[in-house]
């Protein structure tokens, strides 16, 4: 199941009218990736399924079990890695660098999403893969973004 098949979002799960997942992702990118706000903007429509995608996620094991997933093109994840590490376009980045960096972004977003609910429990170590992670029970919420014009989706899933 991809993020454009979301079930309606239940605002009762959150304590605020504004979308906290959007706020968290914006802060993470503003602080660590871009050094300033404004480069990560919500998209109006759903993002297309990536051609050459990269997926990074962390799971929350507490009173409820959830997954925070980041979905983007591999090329975007590469640019993200460069931005995060302050590298120039000439510096080489290998698959390990990208997995570590993209995973860490998922970790920081996930860690903050975890804090939104009471009794949140533990966060798993980030995982990064070229295919969608298995075993999600249902999509709870998806926020499609444009990061410097490239699609990137932050989604929240229930785990069985």
């Amino acid at each position: 199941m991809s993020e454009d098949m979301a079930t309606p979002f239940d605002p009762g799960e959150w304590t605020d009218a504004a979308d906290p997942v959007e706020a968290i992702a914006s802060e993470v990118f503003a602080a660590m990736v871009d050094g300033e706000p404004g480069h990560l903007q919500p998209r109006s429509g759903p993002a297309p399924e990536p051609d050459d995608g990269l997926y990074a996620w962390v799971d929350v094991h507490g009173a409820t079990r959830r997954r925070v997933l980041l979905t983007t093109e591999r090329e975007t994840a590469t640019a993200l890695t460069r931005a995060l590490l302050g590298l120039s376009p000439d510096d080489t980045v290998d698959d390990d660098d990208i997995a570590d960096a993209f995973g860490e972004v998922a970790n920081v977003v996930g860690g903050n999403v975890k804090a939104l609910v009471p009794d949140p429990g533990d966060l798993t170590l980030p995982e990064v893969a070229p295919t969608r992670p298995p075993a999600a029970a249902g999509l709870l919420h998806a926020v499609p973004f444009d990061w410097r014009g490239r699609p990137l989706v932050v989604s929240l899933w229930a785990l069985p």
Partner: protein
């Protein structure tokens, strides 16, 4: 001045190291609390340790507790840098002996501000 940067993410170690070096710190990296303790045992004379919470082998809380049990490491300033942002977690970290706490995501200024509070750097303007 030497700083220990302890985080299982290579990316995070590079980011934090990149903030600390221009402030005059020699940065030593460790992947987990145990490796960091081993470095201290081997004689590393660090003034600052930036510690993640969730790490394999020995987590940040374990490292902080171990350090604070030893008189010889009394002068090591301990700053937790972590995604754990629940009130109760911060209280736990401070109770275990962390001197300061930075929640991820952070900006370079946030780290500098904390180091200023701790008296480890001096970035003040004066009239």
């Amino acid at each position: 001045m030497k700083a220990l940067v302890i985080d299982d993410s290579r990316t995070m170690r590079r980011i934090i190291g990149g903030i600390l070096r221009p402030l005059g710190f020699d940065v030593v990296e460790a992947e987990n609390g145990q490796d960091a303790l081993d470095a201290l045992e081997a004689g590393l004379d660090a003034e600052l340790a930036c510690v993640d919470w969730n790490m394999p082998v020995m987590d940040g809380l374990g490292f902080i507790s171990a350090v604070r049990r030893e008189r010889r490491w009394r002068d090591l300033t301990l700053v937790m840098v972590t995604t754990e942002s629940e009130q109760s977690q911060i209280v736990r970290a401070l109770a275990a002996g962390a001197h300061e706490y930075v929640i991820k995501p952070f900006t370079p200024d946030a780290i500098r501000d904390k180091l200023q509070l701790l008296g480890l750097v001096d970035l003040q303007e004066t009239a």
